[in-house]
């Protein structure tokens, strides 16, 4: 139990205050424009005209009304694979950003293959509440095609303070990391960054209905991948091209799951022809502080990038490296309690 009145009041309030969705806000608008077009709106020019008229009358200045009124009318869709309108995709992005703005959970899985061979994989169980984060992750390194024992650790940020549950100088324990870069050094991925991939230009089409974590969703797939931006997440090399993008959204237009693949050509050089750069640490098992705080920075993919940068050319060949990230959002907008560890060893400069 929290010991001081201040934190008890804070905790009580956070227990009972739940974020309000754009849908809830829009449903209370007196003209009641639908925040997300029903199937009929998307597939019928006549119905959307009526919706626009209604929206323009009552809520011309509102977010949804603005987008409805401004959106080009969708072409008659007689086939399930008709591209969704730009306005619809923008609304999905907006609703998801608002719903996930404050708190929630996410499971982020990342796999990297190269030349058809698994290079690394990791799973992050993320909890976020405002600026507080908890990242419980498992990283499975692979060296020369051999999968090594998984490594696990917890990175946590509470009230601007950084905590690690790792093996360090005092063994496996919670460490309170101090220093100006301590929080940034944890490198916790923000899965909401993937929502930037919800670009109207991606040409999303409906694939069909599905269920994600018990939630009825609609599966959407991007068909125009050339113009999509690189994924703004750590561990994804620059210069890649998005090769697949699938999104599962619920009836409120909120993304429940998103999967994206990025491919790039890499130059492969026989390891024996080079000495490893000094800043590359190859984790060969067990718990390594550097690897756990920045597992992606020590990954074979990073190592490969370093090798590329070294300019090696003898015996070089190109291979396709593909990174696939899947994020599943849970407890969207629900309050999350992330507290500082009860006891942590204070260390300076780990970050």
């Amino acid at each position: 139990m929290a010991t001081d009145l201040k934190s008890q009041i804070h905790t009580l309030m956070e227990t009972g205050i739940h974020p309000i969705s754009v849908q809830d806000i829009a449903s209370r608008c007196r003209a009641k424009p639908a925040p997300f077009p029903s199937r009929k709106v998307v597939t019928s020019r006549r119905v959307i005209t009526g919706a626009v008229a209604l929206a323009a009358t009552g809520c011309a200045a509102g977010l949804v009304a603005t987008q409805l009124a401004a959106a080009p009318s969708p072409p008659p869709a007689r086939h399930a694979s008709a591209a969704l309108t730009a306005a619809y995709v923008r609304r999905l992005a907006a609703a998801s950003r608002v719903a996930l703005a404050q708190s929630g959970q996410a499971v982020l899985t990342t796999t990297v293959t190269q030349g058809g061979q698994l290079q690394q994989s990791s799973t992050d169980h993320l909890t976020f509440s405002g600026a507080n984060w908890n990242d419980s992750f498992t990283y499975i390194p692979t060296v020369n095609g051999r999968t090594l024992p998984p490594e696990t650790a917890i990175n946590r940020v509470v009230d601007g303070q950084a905590y690690d549950y790792i093996v360090a100088a005092d063994g496996l324990a919670w460490y309170h990391v101090t220093g100006p870069d301590a929080v940034a050094s944890l490198n916790i991925p923000d899965p909401r960054a993937l929502l930037t991939e919800l670009e109207p230009a991606a040409g999303f089409v409906r694939v069909g209905a599905a269920v994600v974590n018990g939630v009825q969703v609609e599966h959407l797939r991007a068909t125009e991948l050339a113009g999509l931006a690189a994924i703004p997440l750590p561990g994804i090399q620059a210069g890649g091209q998005v090769t697949a993008l699938d999104v599962w959204v619920d009836s409120a237009g909120v993304v429940q799951q998103l999967s994206v693949s990025v491919s790039r050509q890499v130059t492969v050089v026989a390891l024996r022809s080079l000495s490893s750069p000094k800043h590359v640490h190859i984790t060969a098992g067990g718990l390594s502080q550097a690897a756990l705080k920045r597992p992606r920075a020590t990954s074979p993919a990073q190592k490969q990038a370093a090798l590329n940068a070294a300019g090696a050319s003898a015996g070089a060949q190109t291979e396709t490296q593909t990174s696939t990230i899947t994020v599943t959002f849970l407890d969207i907008g629900q309050p999350q309690v992330i507290t500082a560890p009860g006891s942590a060893i204070t260390v300076s400069g780990l970050g």
Binding site: Q8, A56, A60, A69, A70, V98
Partner: protein, 167 residues
């Protein structure tokens, strides 16, 4: 048909900007509006009042661009709409769960006056400054201080908390 003409024009930058502005406003403002209205009216009515206030902003977004203190304005909108539906239990928490606060805290907080609750929750619970609370609620800064002092004293007396807790 005029409507059809506007319907088929491509989205222009201004419309998109307005949409993004409102979305950004909701993200930035909702936490403090929710906290303030929940403190005043409890979880259920506070949430309802917050949603009503944001819906009002949604409807009148263009007109509200000229309001200097929009969060404060919407707090008063929420007050007006929220007062129609008062819940009997202000801070209902799920029964059976073990909560990290004094079991008597919800009732003790509910026993304060509305303004005392606002001051205690926002200043003491969330760390807002007196000025921030004053701007949001429209209560004079010195009055916020008075409500805070009296509210905390009453809360401590109700809960039997000693001076050692004055953090």
């Amino acid at each position: 048909m005029r409507q059809a003409a506007s319907e088929i024009r491509p989205p222009d930058g201004a419309d998109q900007d307005r949409g993004r502005d409102f979305e950004a406003f909701v993200v930035a403002t909702q936490p403090r509006l929710s906290r303030a209205l929940a403190a005043a009216y409890g979880f259920e009515d506070g949430r309802d009042a917050t949603a009503e206030a944001l819906a009002y902003a949604f409807e009148h977004w263009d007109e509200l661009q000229h309001v200097a203190n929009l969060p404060g304005y919407l707090f008063r909108v929420g007050q007006t709409r929220g007062r129609r539906r008062r819940s009997r239990v202000l801070f209902a928490v799920p029964e059976g769960d073990e909560h990290p606060f004094e079991p008597a805290l919800p009732t003790a907080l509910a026993s304060l006056t509305e303004r005392q609750r606002l001051a205690v929750v926002l200043v003491h619970g969330y760390g807002y400054s007196l000025r921030e609370v004053s701007e949001l609620t429209g209560i004079k800064l010195t009055t916020v201080q008075t409500h805070l002092t009296r509210g905390l004293a009453r809360l401590r007396a109700t809960l039997g908390v000693t001076d050692g807790d004055r953090s």
